[in-house]
Amino acid sequence: MSGSTEILVALIAVTIVLAAVFLVRPSITAGITGKVLAFVALCILPALCIDAGMSAHMQRSEQTQFCISCHAMQTHGQSLYIDDASYIPAEHFQNHLVPADQACYACHTDYTIFGPLKDKLQGMKRVYMQYVSTPPKVIEISGGYSNLQCLHCHAGARSFEENPIHSALMASLTTNQVSCITSGCHDAIHNVAEIGQLKMWSPGQ
């Protein structure tokens, strides 16, 4: 448990104790102090607990371990260890071009829970498929992978901007007309179907 989660659990414990007072002795709201205490214990603190809980869960769902804890995502997690620099996620993960503990989120910032309502509903559909029905054999991002996910880091970077191919295609890249990953330039992504045949990297080797 992280430090912020411990503080949240402490806050929840205090709220439970205060709420329990009104469960056992609701008559203490007869006085003004009791009324104020009831407002804090049954309105302010619980609302704070919901808000802090939501933040804690959002932060947790940014972690790589959280993403690959779903069975269907385990091969995607393995693909981060492919021993071949042409595989974009593996290259970014192994060289810490993205934070290793937030490797998935770094390149999928608009995905499921992190996106707008439509994506959140899509995320719930995936939870349903994982635990109730069956996940699809090939997992694809609804609507395709947006170049903005690459550009939020690469745009403005010297090595990216000075590349003649990138500069020639810049308008098409920013408007998503030419995809970074499906136009034939950077098409080695997770490729989970090939995992068994690829050489894997072991940290510390």
Binding site: I12, A41, P46, C49, Q65, V127
Partner: protein, 72 residues
């Protein structure tokens, strides 16, 4: 008046019970590292806490509508 006062107390007890239950669910969701923990928190914990707050706010409306309160 007495009956109404007892009603308000009942409201407060129901509100407290819902909030306590919701907060216990939230604690479970925080210590359980699993994708379903978020679903548990959002759909069970937060709903229970939200309902508890709503019941408490309803009790305030109910209390302020008592005629004796307005007489001073």
């Amino acid at each position: 008046m007495k009956l109404r006062a007892i009603g308000i107390r009942k409201f407060l007890q129901v509100s407290s019970a819902l909030i306590i239950l919701g907060l216990l669910v939230e604690i479970v969701s925080l210590v359980w590292f699993h994708p379903l923990a978020f679903v548990l928190f959002a759909f069970v914990g937060a709903t229970l806490i939200g309902l508890g707050i709503l019941v408490y706010l309803l009790s305030l409306v109910f209390a302020s509508s008592t005629p004796t309160d307005n007489r001073g």
